[in-house]
């Protein structure tokens, strides 16, 4: 649905994104991740036909964003990062205006606007001035204007920023409900959100893509180990040595933030489940086993590892490395 090839954008002398390529299949929700200033918004603005790229191509639903801009624009809904809305308009007339500009036929307009206000939970503020709405409500109106014409592709730049926890859950379920018929590309800094919402992620750092693919695949790629957390009451040196002696165990460390009080992280080769062995060991040594659990790698760790790895590599090489 979205195909981006060798996209580069320079703002004057600043290169915001460099040789970015990725693709998103129809019906998928893809998360766009990266630290501040990585170039997420820039890439999304190009996809949304707000500005042309310096070089490279981007296609949405088979149409080039530059040469067939109108075709692309008819098929997208865009929510910019700053959620720019006409503050001196009221919610319902504003959404009606957007629907009209987007070419929703007059006969369907009233119904579509009512429907989108319902879905984005703004019906109760439909007669209020947008400028007088709270940040969260403005965010929802922004989302409503993006989906009012029922576009095939949604480009959402940080859609849940500034919302309260309840609203975040509501907006997330709204986005989740859009999957299937819609292709969604969203950027965010809330990584658990990506794990909940997205089928795949694209991680971008300093203008270049550093990793992309389904979340599990990335976890596997960047954490080729299985991890177990244990809490054992016993002499720490002995506990460490004995556990390390179990076949397949790669390392035993104190858990982060603990101070040798018996909580350890055990890394084993991928696919090895060492929990039974640890249990046997504790029983045999008469140590008290208080806790034993396998932990999954979070996207957060993947993200930090990738971005930090990039930074380290950049420090050594003195410039931006591989893509």
């Amino acid at each position: 649905m979205i195909e981006v090839e060798h996209l580069t954008k320079n703002y004057g002398l600043v290169t915001a994104i460099r040789d970015v390529s990725f693709s998103v299949a129809a019906g998928q929700i893809v998360g766009f991740l990266g630290p501040n200033g990585a170039g997420k918004s820039t890439a999304m603005r190009i996809l949304a036909c707000f500005m042309p790229a310096s070089s490279g191509t981007a296609r949405v639903a088979g149409h080039d964003v530059f040469r067939e801009s109108m075709e692309v624009r008819r098929r997208i809904g865009y929510l910019p990062e700053s959620v720019p809305l006409y503050t001196d308009m009221r919610v319902a007339p504003y959404l009606d205006f957007v629907a009209e500009v987007k070419g929703v036929p007059r006969a369907e307009r009233r119904r579509k606007v009512a429907d989108v206000m319902d879905r984005c939970l703004v019906t109760e503020v439909q007669n209020r001035l947008i400028g007088k709405l709270s940040k969260g409500y403005r965010q929802r109106v922004g989302l409503a204007q993006a989906i009012v014409s029922d576009p095939e592709v949604l480009i959402l730049d940080e859609p849940t920023i500034g919302l309260d926890p309840k609203q975040i859950t509501e907006i997330r379920s709204l986005i989740k409900a859009l999957a299937g018929q819609h292709t969604v590309i969203l950027s965010t800094h809330i990584l658990p959100e990506v794990s909940i919402l997205c089928d795949a992620v694209i991680i971008i750092n300093k203008g270049a893509i550093v990793a992309q693919g389904p979340i599990e695949a990335l976890v596997e790629q960047f954490f080729p180990t299985a991890r177990v957390e244990v809490e054992i009451v016993g002499p720490p040196p002995a506990v460490r040595d004995r556990i390390r002696a179990i076949p397949g165990v790669l390392s035993v460390q104190d858990q982060a933030g603990t101070n040798g009080d018996g909580r350890y992280v055990v890394e084993a080769a991928r696919g090895r489940d060492v929990r039974a062995e640890i249990f046997q060991l504790a029983a045999q040594q008469r140590w008290d086993l208080l806790e034993l659990k396998r932990v999954g790698m979070t996207l957060e760790e993947v993200f930090i590892r990738i971005v930090a790895g990039e930074e380290a590599a950049a420090g050594e090489a003195g410039e931006n490395p591989r893509s």
Binding site: C49, R73, R74, P80, D88, M89
Partner: protein, 255 residues
Amino acid sequence: MRIWPIFKKELRLYFTSPVAWVVFTIFLLIGGYFFYSIFAFFTLASMQSAMNPAMGRDLNVTDSVMRPLFSNISVILLLLLPLVTMRLFAEERRSGTIELLLTYPVRDGAVLAGKYLSALALYAIMIGLTVLYPGIVMYFARLEWGPVLTGYLGLLLMGATFIAVGVFASSLTENQIVASITTFGVLLIFWILGWSADYAGGTTGKVLQFLSILEHNESFAKGVLDTKDILYYLNFTVLALFLTLRSLEARRWKG
């Protein structure tokens, strides 16, 4: 071309914000004052001429009231129209709404047309309100409608030009004040060009006279329709709108 929704939205915004009302009020106040003083002066003059028939021969309401009134109104326009147009693009840019507007499935040209026509419509309403003045004159004296109609056409064409310049200035900046001062400055320059035409003389004088915004408006109020004048305003307008389109496009590249 989806001009209509944009036109509607912009025109409604003029009336839901105080802009239209303030501009109308000030325009009618000052216009009314001009009308009153011109008309009062004319009444005085015609009373004197009744006693002195030699003077009365070239006294004529159309020439003595409507013509000065049109030229006074054009001065008010010079001051007020930049305030009407300054918002159109500058505000979209400042608030960032341009990022959404320019990603909707409408061409830049349609966005421009919608905005331009909304200001033009507001302006048409504004000068439409002044029909009151010739109405009053007609009540007291016989008025030739020809020069009044062409006078209004002249005002409309001149206003269309002012608005086009204003829209262009508004597309150049995100600051409304800068937009309005730029518009005013540019229009004023073209306004005063005609002044020096008289003593510049020769080709320079001709060129200056040709460029002067004011010069081209004179014949309308005399009841003369000259294609040269009409083309001057139309060309000026089209050029300003064309430059606006280029400026919108250039802004896109800059991001």
